[in-house]
Amino acid sequence: MIAPSPTGSGGPTRPILEIDRLKTHFFTRDGVVRAVDGVSCVLYPGETLGVVGESGCGKSITALSVLRLIARPGRIVEGDIRLAGRSLLAVSEAEMRMIRGNEISMIFQEPMTSLNPVLTVGRQIAETFILHQDLSRRAAHDKAVEMLRLVRIPEAERRVHDYPFQLSGGMRQRVMIAMALSCNPKVLLADEPTTALDVTIQAQILHLMLDLKERLGTAIILITHDLGVIAETAQRAVVMYAGRKVEEASVEVLFERPRHPYTLGLMKSVPRLDKAAYDAKRRRLAEIPGMVPALKKIPAGCIFEPRCAFAAERCRRETPPLEEHAPGHWSACWEQARVAASVAHG
């Protein structure tokens, strides 16, 4: 079930992060919410993997599961997560704390609530150095200034004493990136890092992230609902729906010839600046009818079937497995051939 993929560079490379049939369930009073229900995924060193999906699809929970940050009533019930071959579910909490912020870092959507409002940004960045690299306060402070310069915050020596509320949204996100990258982690989990930012600031931040990735060699998992961001920054992408992975492919192939009705539906329902018609008659966007299902009542058969334009009889009865239908292109759909064909004909 693990999907290997072309790495671009010759020769087989070992993945830096493997998520193997992960299931994270939440045991609530109203029933079991299967937030992540059997997701497998592989990340290679230095690459950017995009995870696309709408709210409730489980993409954030997957990232939090990697860092073992799932609190009650949630629990990882099945599967494994391996960092450079080492199982993260088998290590102790103390060891996990040494991994967080050090080998795997995470940045979040809302920079204001992710930064401690009563500590200066310098203190917060220095904390990672003190904790993971055993530096003195002085040395850690200097490193913090260095990191602020790295993320291109002007007047870093002065800004290091600022509190989060004195910085703009874009700057706060840069601080978060500085914190996350300070110990040169192997993996960076970015959970909707630019969704709350203005589009011009978003462009700056994405540009910065990619630049740093080149320099530091960090592998990035970029979680977002914005297809444009995925197209621009990721090499491979995974599409998630209702706690499962429904499609995976390189970004070029995914956008050109999707093999899952949900992916196709998403792409057609987004208004496109590059495909604007400008004729007098405005067109309707292609809708995906219905809503995301409640994660407690999982039907038999394909989970997308009630909303699917390509649904066949088999889809109602049997859940389609995730299979490699084209080299490096995985999809969980009985009708994927029809989906791909429909795209070809425009």
Partner: protein
């Protein structure tokens, strides 16, 4: 648009939530316990003459300072009066004062708070007056007011209500200030809803929940204040038994006849506990985010 825990945004199939008593008790133990205790005290107060058939004022000097026995369940006091009968009848005063104060202070506080919160012009003056009242400790204010009038239960209610009103006003005003900025208030304005209807249909229903909780706390505070006033001799007139004046009288006999002080004290503590439990439980139960669990 991330959620740390999955958001329950699905549509309920049936659209209604069935009543499940056992589940309710399990999910809201504080409300249940508080309600049961309070109900017990209430029944005691209502059925006092049936539970304690004697006359609470009946003097019986021969039987003075007797410890609890089969004949006098809670013993007798320094005048030979049955402590049990007096305790049971005393519950009436406490509950009457507690509930009246809660109702009246919430009533006044609601109106003043709504207007102060919504009309900036009125706000400044009203809040300065309220701040002034709150600066005086409530029992002192109550004593001062009682000093102006003769002792009676009515006057006790008034004296205990006045210090509580500013607290309610402050709460209501805070809630109104928060809600006033919500888009649905702006929406109401945009669809032509007039001022009075915005107050009654939009602001008021959203202040009810915290107000109910505040009412229970006010009731508890009122019971205690009344007891304190009576203890100090500034409250309920001594011929009417109240837990406060019973405890005052029992104070000097504390070392020889502790039961005179003990039983009214216990009942007082249980009543205040019950009201506080109810208030705490209601605060959690009425939290809109948890509403579906109710």
């Amino acid at each position: 648009m991330t959620d740390a825990t999955p958001a329950a945004t699905e549509v309920d199939e049936h659209g209604s939530e069935s009543v499940d008593l056992a589940g309710f008790v399990r999910r809201n133990p504080t409300v249940t316990l508080g309600s049961i205790l309070l109900l017990a005290i209430l029944l005691v107060a209502v059925f006092a003459p049936l539970l304690a058939s004697g006359d609470p004022q009946a003097l019986n000097p021969i039987q003075r300072l007797r410890p609890p026995s089969a004949e006098h369940w809670f013993g007798t006091d320094m005048y030979g009066r049955d402590v049990f009968t007096r305790t049971i009848h005393g519950s009436r005063i406490s509950l009457v004062v507690g509930s009246l104060v809660a109702l009246i202070s919430v009533g006044f506080g609601l109106v003043i708070g709504l207007v102060a919160g919504y009309l900036r012009v009125v706000d400044g003056i009203v809040m300065r007056v309220m701040d002034g009242l709150m600066a005086i400790p409530d029992i002192l204010l109550a004593i001062a007011l009682m000093a102006l009038f003769r002792a009676s239960v009515t006057n006790v209610v008034i004296a205990v209500t006045v210090p509580q009103v500013p607290r309610v006003v402050r709460l209501v005003r805070a809630v109104v200030l928060t809600i006033r900025e919500r888009p649905y208030i702006e929406a109401a304005q945009s669809i032509g809803t007039r001022f009075r209807r915005i107050l009654t249909k939009h602001l008021l229903p959203n202040t009810i929940a915290p107000l109910i909780v505040q009412a229970t706390y006010t009731g508890a505070a009122a019971v205690l204040t009344e007891a304190g006033l009576s203890f100090l001799g500034a409250g309920t007139p001594p011929n009417i038994p109240s837990w406060g004046n019973m405890m005052a009288e029992g104070r000097t006999y504390f070392q020889v006849a502790v039961w005179i002080l003990l039983f009214p004290g216990m009942f007082l503590a249980i009543t205040v506990l019950a009201v506080n439990l109810l208030g705490d439980g209601l605060r959690d139960a009425l939290d809109p985010r948890l509403r579906r669990r109710l």
